[in-house]
């Protein structure tokens, strides 16, 4: 699980250019409505980056509001995809 959290923090660092603010993220950190960089383009870039870096496919119906509720919820999803 901590591996998945680090993966998600790296995504925010690299894809959204959050810099040091990404270091402070924890599983409880909210995403939607809390991170200003998080617009629909950001959602798509994160989903694409997960697909490319893990070599997996993500279905449209997996892209939900719950998925992006917190860093922890996204990390759970990533952990599942990591297998």
């Amino acid at each position: 699980m901590s591996e998945a959290i680090e993966f998600v923090k790296d995504l925010f660092r690299n894809q959204l250019q959050m810099g040091e603010r990404a270091d402070a993220l924890t599983a409880d950190s909210p995403i939607v409505g809390a991170i200003p960089e998080f617009d629909s383009v950001a959602v798509v870039s994160l989903v694409t980056a997960i697909e490319e870096q893990l070599g997996v496919e993500i279905e449209d119906d997996e892209i939900t509001g719950e998925l992006f509720e917190t860093v922890g919820s996204l990390a759970d999803f990533v952990a599942e995809k990591m297998g």
């Binding site: 629909s40 383009v41 798509v44």
Partner: protein
């Protein structure tokens, strides 16, 4: 040397096949070494890239390359609505830009960013020997894949809305049935959808005599291009093409809302242009 931000430029309307096209022209500073036509990315990405393309154009002009930033039909300040645009018209626009640059001395480079890379390669094929180089920034190699991601903007937009979510498959079906769809503030026509699905940088891209420089972002600390890109470029080289991949570090500016710059990309581009000249 003039400061980058003080590089002189002129605004023009060029004759396009369907109406005037807006262009920003940065004439070569000092002795001219060549000419460059900038072909922008698709829709919202072109807005997010605007500052970087301006920075690239200024830097190229300072190195002696007269550079034209062109708004394609239905985009920016050019004629037409986005919904009326299609691939064929955009290829004509590229040719209009090339014709406009014709009077400038030196070899011609088509500089394509993201989807603009595919347009550049398609145009280069029909231009024959007129285009000597392709300078590609973060190229999209598969238009269909890019369009799926684009359709996902609409899926992502409805994240907080209640009810059943749309899928990219359903959106594609509606487009195929003849409906135009609004996505991220742009109306996508069925023709555009079909054109994007067909657009690609194919493994059998045959561009003999054209030097291709492919510049792609990698995360800090990494130095290898993505697997798919590396494979495509290696295949081209096996076929005897003069293709080269170059990684760069920097922010993924084409997808960021805030203004981020990647000066390393600009510097690398200028160096490559000078190297091969």
């Amino acid at each position: 040397m003039t400061r980058l931000q003080d590089t002189p430029f002129e605004a023009y309307f060029l004759d396009g096949t369907k109406g005037p096209l807006f262009g920003l022209y940065f004439p070569a500073v000092g002795a001219p070494r060549g000419k460059v036509l900038c072909i922008p990315p698709f829709s919202e990405e072109s807005n997010r890239c605007r500052v970087m393309l301006g920075m690239g154009a200024r830097a190229l002009a300072q190195r002696g390359y007269s550079t034209l930033l062109l708004d394609l039909y239905g985009t920016g300040d050019s004629e037409g609505q986005f919904e009326q645009a299609d691939w064929r018209t955009w290829l004509d626009d590229v040719r209009s830009g090339v014709d406009w640059l014709d009077q400038q001395p030196g070899p011609l480079t088509l500089w394509g960013t993201r989807l603009g890379a595919i347009l550049a390669a398609d145009a280069a094929r029909s231009l024959g020997e007129r285009a000597e180089r392709l300078l590609l920034w973060q190229p999209v190699s598969n238009g269909k894949q890019m369009f799926t991601q684009y359709l996902r903007l609409r899926v992502a937009n409805s994240l907080e809305a209640s009810g059943r979510q749309e899928t990219t498959k359903e959106l594609r079906e509606r487009l195929a049935a003849g409906e135009s769809l609004e996505i991220g503030g742009y109306y996508i026509s069925p023709q555009m959808a079909a054109d994007l699905d067909a657009a690609q940088l194919p493994q059998d891209l045959s561009l003999p005599g054209v030097r291709i420089d492919w510049l792609e972002r990698v995360d800090e600390g990494k130095s290898e291009l993505g697997f798919a890109s590396a494979k495509l470029i290696a295949g081209w080289r096996e076929q005897g093409m003069d293709a080269h991949g170059h990684p760069f570090n920097g922010p993924p500016f084409w997808q960021l809302h805030e203004r981020f710059l990647a000066p390393q990309l600009v510097e690398l581009s200028c160096r490559l242009m000078e190297q091969g000249a």
